[in-house]
């Protein structure tokens, strides 16, 4: 059943995806009105799917990639909705919607490669660890999206064509603010999530292998994240430099995610 809800959610997210594509080509009036409500309905279905999955299995099984991607999509959408509520702009959707679609797509169609088996550790703590890291990811990704929009808008203004295809983008400083705020919002989550992960791992394995690729990459990602916040805070780095850094942090995050496949600690499949 959860998989069905998830697929329904996917259907609604497809409308958002379409919006993102249309926004690139012309100022779609209908899509503008449709996208946010459709994505909202999609979120509801996704939430139902996730809850049902957790309830039916009787435990927090979030650590399976299958559900975690879905949760990540949900959190990213939530972050997007907060921005939408505060700034009334759907522009970040151009970047956010396709990713949400992709994550949900993978989770709705993919197999379940990982199973949570480490029965020793507290499942609640693990859940908190994952949720926080993902909230951090969501903030980071939104900031990354904002950086891209910033670059587009900056380019438009420099090229003296501020009313082109992207004529409806928010003002440059507003985009910048969205990016910085989501960064600030995501950072504490990411930090706490990593600390929590370390504590849980410590409790489970009684030692932490610092050279484990997952841990190494996660730490690297956190460092880039920190650098991003710091440069923006102290030197006001924005635009191109901020976009490069955000891309770096985001790439590190993706690699850290992929490292699940190589990490000894983070492997949930019993070998």
């Amino acid at each position: 059943m959860p998989i069905l809800w998830l697929r329904v959610a996917l259907g609604f997210y497809a409308i958002g995806l379409l919006y993102a594509l249309v926004a690139l080509t012309r100022r779609g009036g209908l899509m503008n009105k449709l996208a946010v409500p459709a994505m909202g309905v999609g979120m509801i279905f996704q939430f139902v799917a996730l809850t049902e999955a957790i309830v039916s299995s009787g435990q927090l099984t979030l650590a399976s990639v299958h559900h975690s991607e879905s949760l990540l999509a949900l959190l990213i959408m939530a972050a997007f909705l907060i921005v939408y509520g505060v700034y009334g702009t759907t522009s970040p959707g151009i970047v956010v919607f396709p990713l949400v679609f992709l994550l949900t797509f993978v989770s709705a169609t993919g197999q379940q490669p990982f199973l949570l088996t480490s029965g020793v550790m507290s499942k609640r703590w693990l859940f908190a660890h994952i949720a926080m890291i993902f909230a951090g990811y969501a903030g980071l990704f939104l900031s990354f999206s904002a950086s891209l929009l910033y670059l587009i808008q900056e380019h438009n203004l420099k090229a003296k064509k501020p009313s082109g295809i992207f004529g409806r983008l928010p003002a440059l400083e507003v985009i910048d603010e969205i990016g910085f705020r989501s960064l600030l919002l995501g950072f504490p989550f990411m930090t706490l999530g990593l600390i929590l992960g370390t504590v849980v791992a410590q409790a489970t394995y009684h030692k932490i292998d610092v050279l484990d690729p997952k841990i190494l990459l996660s730490f690297l990602m956190w460092l880039v994240y920190l650098l991003l916040v710091y440069t923006r805070w102290s030197a006001g780095w924005r635009g191109r430099r901020a976009a490069y850094l955000a891309t770096g942090a985001f790439a590190a995050a993706v690699v850290a995610w992929a490292a699940n496949y190589f990490s000894a600690i983070h492997r949930f499949v019993q070998s």
């Binding site: 003296k160 501020p162 440059l172 400083e173 507003v174 006001g236 924005r238």
Partner: protein, 429 residues
């Protein structure tokens, strides 16, 4: 409706002709009074802006000769203005008025001032009693149409002048202009205008630098701003989010190295340079710095031009709206027209009178011509006395907004609609 409109505008007449026909605002009321005294004119209004002079009149049975009025009022030969004159009647006149009010006939399509000018002319005309009935309806309708065009199309949404383009660009960069600081380098009319626009949109403070310090102080006083010495600009300009430069300097005052210094001090917060000077005050190289946006006069004018093109597209949609509104207005006028109702009321009572006479004549036997005349006079007298009040009520109503209701009531009381229809279908057979 006997509506006439004649006039000249920027498209049909060169400025030499328009200025011969221009009426200063102070004399407009007087001119409208004279128009009212012109033979055949029932109601009238004169619209006079720098781009157009138009006379709109409701005439008695279409008789008034507005050409003659122009000739008489301005004391000029018809040959001097006739070739440039346009003339519309009835439907076309309504359409023209709607287009003017909605700013579709303007030099810069969509500019907002024209509606205000039409409203002023209307107010003047009303004050002198030159507009009171049908023209009143028509003009108030034209304001509603203009508003509709403005809200339903984006004809009026884009900025026009260089100054408002500057504001629009500043908003693209900063979002809101609240709390933003503006620096004027060099005092010129255009930069002053731009600063005024920015201030109107919420810019917090304005400081002025000029080679002649006294001039800077003068200008700063106008904006409640602050004057700074010209030699201090490199130290002070980083405080400004928007710099408007318009000096007569032969070489650029702001160069790349200055921009880099500003950015460092501002922690890379964006800066917007509006360069109105020719030759340019801001080195185009500055535009290559991250976070600095430089627009020179050509860029601004290009933005203005692209807006004009956009507007043209929207104007087509606006034309369609106006077409529909003209139809609606005409339909409404028809119900407003009391004459047909009066005629059919008279016909109706006359038919009754004749029928009644015919009915009693048989019973009266042969009558002398004097008796015939007496009966005729008696019945006619009764009918006329009864009809007097309804007809005068209808005639007064025609000049008020309640005409539709009164016409409707009279028609229902005497069952006139059905009669007319019956008569019409009778004619058809």
């Amino acid at each position: 409706m006997n509506l006439q409109l004649i006039g000249v505008n920027h498209k049909t007449a060169p400025v030499e002709v328009r200025e011969r026909l221009a009426i200063p605002e102070s004399r407009l009321a007087e001119a409208m009074k004279q128009l009212m005294q012109h033979p055949g004119v029932d109601e009238g209004m004169i619209l006079c802006t720098c781009n157009r002079v138009e006379i709109l009149a409701q005439t008695k049975n279409g008789s008034g000769d507005l050409h003659a009025f122009l000739e008489k009022y301005f004391h000029i030969e018809p040959s001097q203005f006739e070739p440039h004159l346009y003339e519309y009647r009835e439907r076309e006149a309504i359409q023209h008025l709607f287009r003017v009010a909605a700013s579709l006939d303007s030099m810069v399509v969509g500019e907002p001032q024209i509606l205000g000018q039409v409203k002023e002319a209307y107010a003047t005309a009303r004050a002198v009693g030159a507009v009171y009935s049908q023209l009143d309806l028509l003009l108030t309708r034209s304001f509603a149409v203009a508003k509709r065009v403005r809200t339903e199309t984006s004809v009026g949404s884009s900025a026009v002048s260089v100054a408002s383009v500057a504001v629009e660009l500043a908003k693209k960069i900063f979002g809101s202009l609240k709390g933003k600081h503006v620096c004027l380098v060099g005092a010129g009319k255009m930069s002053e205008l731009a600063a005024r626009h920015l201030q109107a949109h919420g810019a917090a403070s304005i400081f002025v630098a000029n080679r002649t310090y006294e001039r800077a102080v003068q200008l700063a006083a106008k904006f409640n701003g602050q004057a700074i010495r010209f030699s201090d600009i490199y130290d002070s300009c980083d405080r400004a989010d928007i710099v408007i430069s318009s000096t007569g300097a032969p070489v650029a005052i702001f160069r790349r190295e200055h921009g880099e210094r500003f950015l460092a001090r501002r922690k890379n917060r964006p800066m917007f340079f509006i360069d109105i000077a020719v030759p340019r005050d801001v080195d185009p190289e500055m535009n290559k710095l991250d976070g600095i946006f430089v627009y020179d006069i050509d860029d601004l004018q290009q933005a203005v031009a692209s807006h004009v093109a956009d507007r043209q597209k929207e104007a087509e949609r606006a034309e369609a709206i106006i077409e529909g509104e003209v139809d609606r207005f005409l339909a409404r006028l028809q119900t407003l027209d009391v004459v047909p109702t009066i005629v059919s009321l008279q016909d109706h009572l006359e038919t009754i009178r004749q029928a009644e006479i015919d009915r009693v004549r048989g019973r009266l036997g042969p009558l002398t011509p004097e008796q015939e005349m007496a009966i005729e006079a008696l019945t006619r007298g009764i009918v006329n006395k009864i009809m007097h009040t309804p007809i005068s009520t209808l005639k007064t109503a025609a000049k008020e907004s309640e005409a539709t209701t009164v016409v409707d009531v009279v028609r229902r009381l005497f069952n006139l609609q059905d009669r007319e229809k019956a008569a019409k279908s009778g004619d058809g057979n």
